[in-house]
């Protein structure tokens, strides 16, 4: 038996949870995830399994938006979970959210895989690349529309000029680099960088 009673209750993952409830559910889960990380740091494998049951499906989806390939996304989640296990003691509750910490571990791993050139492997022709690119970018823009309407991030991204919003979403959701964003938007690199910088600054200002 695990000593941490809360963890023996498995959190049923609500696939079809209504939009307006989603963030609240996620906040409640974050406290639960914080306890699970503390238990991982003490060597409780069930706690890691608990995080897996509640988050793995979404984490694979997040990694797939970055890496585009399902197999690579699963690899990122696999390696990421091993990292969560070995680094759980570094999480400090009461600072950033446990959820943010867990997602950052997987995101960083996916980004590292991407920068190591794994995504390039899937490019077979320019045409295919363009097609996948367009689909990818549509999917990225849709992530903004899927944000809870009325939430600060939704409103503040909405207040940005369209291209600036696009650059920020391409970076965060799709893992695009400065250079890739400049290329896709046909902008000089310096211009793209300064748009992103101003976009981020306006976003912080708005969300303050």
């Amino acid at each position: 038996m695990s000593g941490t009673g809360a963890l023996s209750v498995r959190y049923p993952f609500e696939r079809n949870v209504r939009e307006e409830n989603r963030l609240q559910v996620m906040q409640d889960q974050s406290e639960d995830l914080s306890a699970a990380l503390a238990a991982c740091a003490k060597g409780d494998r069930k706690a890691l399994r608990h995080i897996y049951d509640s988050e793995a499906g979404r984490l694979v989806a997040v990694a797939q938006r970055i890496l585009r390939r399902r197999d690579l996304a699963e690899e990122a989640v696999q390696e990421g979970f091993i990292r969560i296990w070995t680094k759980a003691h570094q999480f400090e509750p009461g600072r950033g959210s446990a959820r943010g910490w867990i997602y950052a571990v997987i995101r960083n791993h996916a980004l590292n895989m991407l920068r190591d050139g794994k995504r390039e492997d899937l490019v077979t022709s320019d045409k295919l690349e363009e097609l996948q690119d367009r689909e990818q970018i549509d999917q990225i823009m849709a992530s903004w529309q899927r944000l809870e309407s009325g939430s600060r991030l939704h409103e503040c991204l909405g207040a940005l000029e369209e291209t600036r919003r696009r650059t920020i979403l391409m970076a965060y959701v799709g893992g695009y680099t400065h250079g890739e964003i400049a290329g896709r938007l046909r902008l000089p690199l310096g211009t793209a960088k300064s748009w992103i910088k101003r976009g981020l600054s306006a976003l912080r200002e708005c969300m303050r």
Partner: protein
């Protein structure tokens, strides 16, 4: 714009890091800074939580059970973690936390002792390097030492065996400044310690980042690090 306001700069760097917009070497340097700088950590945590709702928009996918099995197997192979006690007592859990800290402290201590030994040794035997960097792996273990003499000469001593796949090579890099970006100091042929002749660079500074990445044989085709970072560390000037 408030580009000269240091607080503003920190917050912007945090955003760039969280969005994955830094070059891998910049990101590596940033992560080392992050470990020591609580203000920077707070900025990163705030930035993460600002953007997290975007991750929540991803529709969860069905994951195969074997993904968990691979994770479970990976954990067993990873650094030994304390076994779960059938009824963990508060004392036992405290011990675990302490041992985590102790492990980190030991690793830092080992790196420091190694640095001290190297310093003593190199001061006695040769012209002084301008800076010395102990390069650590992801577990915080010292794997290599770079001595940069600041005259286009640097020596790299490997302290561990590096497994390098066929068609790959170890490449040594430094980051003289954010503006210059990462610069290659040279390749380690046959994965051995070597004296390298690099390009003319500004005088190396304390806190300058050095790292070794795995690149395709002949060195990175782009002139910038493209492969995984194997080890990295910040330089110190001998006193």
């Amino acid at each position: 714009m408030t580009g000269t306001n240091p607080e503003h700069d920190i917050i912007h760097l945090a955003d760039e890091y969280v969005l994955g917009l830094m070059e891998p070497m910049e990101a590596a340097a940033f992560e080392v800074r992050l470990e020591r700088d609580a203000e920077l950590r707070a900025a990163v945590e705030a930035s993460r939580d600002r953007f997290l709702p975007l991750d929540a928009t991803a529709e969860p996918l069905d994951v195969p059970e074997e993904l968990w099995q691979r994770i479970d197997a990976g954990i067993s192979a990873a650094r030994p973690t304390p076994e779960i006690a059938t009824a963990p007592s508060p004392a036992a859990s405290n011990d675990n936390i302490k041992s985590g800290w102790r492990w980190t402290a030991m690793a830092s201590l080992a790196a420091t002792v190694l640095l001290a030994v190297t310093l003593g040794w190199s001061l006695l035997t040769r012209p002084d390097p301008v800076v010395i960097a102990v390069l650590l792996d992801a577990k915080g273990e010292a794997q290599a030492i770079v001595e940069d003499f600041g005259n286009e000469q640097a020596t790299v001593k490997l302290l561990a065996d590096f497994t390098v796949p066929e068609g790959k090579t170890l490449q040594v890099w430094t980051l003289p400044s954010q503006d210059m970006g990462p610069v290659s100091l040279g390749l380690l042929e046959n994965s051995r310690s070597a004296a390298l002749k690099g390009p003319a660079l500004p005088k190396p500074q304390g806190e300058q980042l050095y790292e070794i990445t795995l690149e395709t044989a002949g060195g990175s085709p782009t002139g910038r690090p493209t492969g995984p970072i194997l080890v990295k560390g910040f330089a110190k000037a001998p006193r």
